[in-house]
Symmetry: none
Subunit: 217 residues, 4 copies
Amino acid sequence: MDQQLAFAQFGSMPTNTQNRRRRPQQDRSRSTVEAIVDAAAQILEAQGPQHATTNHIAERAGVSIGTLYQYFPNKQALFTELARRFIEELGTATEESLESISMGPMQEVVPQFLHTLGRLHGTSPRLRSFLFQQPGSQVLMRDFNERIEAVVARVLARRPEFRDGNPTLTAQVVVRAVDGVMRDTTLREPERVHERAFIDELSRLVLGYLMLSATGG
Amino acid sequence: MDQQLAFAQFGSMPTNTQNRRRRPQQDRSRSTVEAIVDAAAQILEAQGPQHATTNHIAERAGVSIGTLYQYFPNKQALFTELARRFIEELGTATEESLESISMGPMQEVVPQFLHTLGRLHGTSPRLRSFLFQQPGSQVLMRDFNERIEAVVARVLARRPEFRDGNPTLTAQVVVRAVDGVMRDTTLREPERVHERAFIDELSRLVLGYLMLSATGG
Amino acid sequence: MDQQLAFAQFGSMPTNTQNRRRRPQQDRSRSTVEAIVDAAAQILEAQGPQHATTNHIAERAGVSIGTLYQYFPNKQALFTELARRFIEELGTATEESLESISMGPMQEVVPQFLHTLGRLHGTSPRLRSFLFQQPGSQVLMRDFNERIEAVVARVLARRPEFRDGNPTLTAQVVVRAVDGVMRDTTLREPERVHERAFIDELSRLVLGYLMLSATGG
Amino acid sequence: MDQQLAFAQFGSMPTNTQNRRRRPQQDRSRSTVEAIVDAAAQILEAQGPQHATTNHIAERAGVSIGTLYQYFPNKQALFTELARRFIEELGTATEESLESISMGPMQEVVPQFLHTLGRLHGTSPRLRSFLFQQPGSQVLMRDFNERIEAVVARVLARRPEFRDGNPTLTAQVVVRAVDGVMRDTTLREPERVHERAFIDELSRLVLGYLMLSATGG
DNA sequence: GATGAATGAGAATTCATTCAT
DNA sequence: GATGAATGAATTCTCATTCAT
């Protein structure tokens, strides 16, 4: 009932996290917003969109429906904020993992990266799927993917093997392909995402492609 | 308004009646069912799920709401039937394209196949996305993907290069990766799916992987 | 499924039963009406009013909905006809039983009568209750009860003990009291209606009253 | 329009919330529930079940349809609550009348009691008939009748004349017989229930039976 | 006469949103 | 700020009835 949403664990919100010195009232209302957004995320993940009614969300958040509308002009705005946070956190977490493992030999780096990605993907598959379905989440998704693709492109560009390739395009294809396999697999066979065999096979996909791309195809 | 839904062009298929309230006994009612399912598909694709109310669907189909409920016990059953048809047709079309192009050299076969897949994917992206989201479509999706993966595996197995590999696993990864890239790209940059550069890059992904897999990784 | 409705067994319809010489067509349509009315009775008794939709009735009767409307202008008319038949048959059966046992000593006559009444009451309690609830069945019910009350009054009047009483009033009270006990008991403890102890107790009720009434109260 | 339903005058009673969606927490909502239940009772009594639609009930209660559903999960639950209240109030009123008049001579007590019962019965005959028809009201009815029968049995047991009889059985028959006569008569000739002649005749029925039962039949 | 596909008014119910307290 | 009672438009679904074949 009170479990924090899993995706929230990958780090705290970066949105104006610095220099915050709030008065108690603000703290209270801050945590109210938090509670509402978390409640929405929980319900979406655990019970699906049909159950994510504003009344249900408010109840789960432990506030009245009136309070919910004090902070969000309408339901859509709540989902949009949730999407924003979700992507923000997922993006940050992904970037961090990526940066931290980027300089070893490809044969090691790739599986490590995929393993991390699997963990991130496995976190809230239904929520993720729902948010990416939302009207207007195109933009968010684009931003998110561009962010990830940019990191990957940067990582590739740093490597001598890719001096002659097109890191941007390569990154796009890699990220989307991995994303696709992960998403499908997460929804259909959630456990497999963490299995060694799965990671290895996916690594082969990426490595094969990178090798081809490195040499200019 | 009256444009036939694209996916319907791949030919009709046998009709299971599981989710049907009444089996049509006259020609008139057969085309009525068709009209209803088509209307649902059109609205879903063009306007999204929010607009796919039973009344709207009936109206678009040119029948009364009562008629709709004569053939479907509830809204969900209509969507289930739509999903069944969609997947059936998409599956058949995919299989056919695949089989017909399967024996040339890899460097030619793969782009051809991807081109076809791009066309099929581009057909009804929102509808597709919606249907795959539906409760219970897990099963349909699994069946569909297994079907495609089976054809790909069969094609691979026929090739001498893959004598030593694991065609089933390879097929799974290829199909899902391609599916993922296609899906993402279709939703975000629909035109790109048909561009030469995109197809070529995706071909590189597949070819690189296949080469690695063929030699046993 | 095809069992004739129990209430129909107490004798055939007296409505223009004589001199009938129908052509086959007429016979066929006669039995169609029969089938429809019976189907309605069966559904009402076995499944309750909620399930007695015109479509369901027609289906059970083995005819199309169109045919039903060929014979009855609307649903209400069907129920009215059913009520007419029900009461007609129940009335006739009751009268016959009553007349046939009327001249023995009271201590024997009354239990016999009550036993018969119990059998008649037990026949179709839900149907009976429903029909008597129908708008416009007031009249039918009044007629029916008056008919029964008239027979009872006649029977009483024939007896020397009641020479000084008011047989009409007495009959009214007896019939309604017995009817009330029967109805309650039939609905709540259907088996008891046929039990000796129940009949005996009810007999005491009637006999006590008749004795008081006979002597002028 | 705004006349309080007669049966409501017997005093309020404890409220069980089993069939309630939300328990009123403010005074406002308590009276809202009251208004809804009363409106249902009024419509049922005055216009019959066909007119007792949820929209009509809400309108008559002066609230929106949404408010109705805030307190009752569905229409049936509203009727169940109404039945509960009706029976509760009728039961209490009956018990009170009974207890208060129980020790005089039979010839006086019985008519008094019947007069009271007539008044209670005359209150809402259609509503009563409808409620007792409802699925699941078997239980309520059984409880109600057992309650009344228990009081009558207790009253009888206190009397020396019945020392040798079976007060429980006797009470059952008396209560059901009176109930039956009352019910029939209320529906068919509502005014008669209050007439002296009717009460006297019914008294004779009861007295005759009690005399027979007292002496052991 | 019979059929059954089609109709559509109307009923139940939901849920995002408002607003008096 | 917070509450929760109230709102009512919108949605799903039913079923008596019609009518072309």
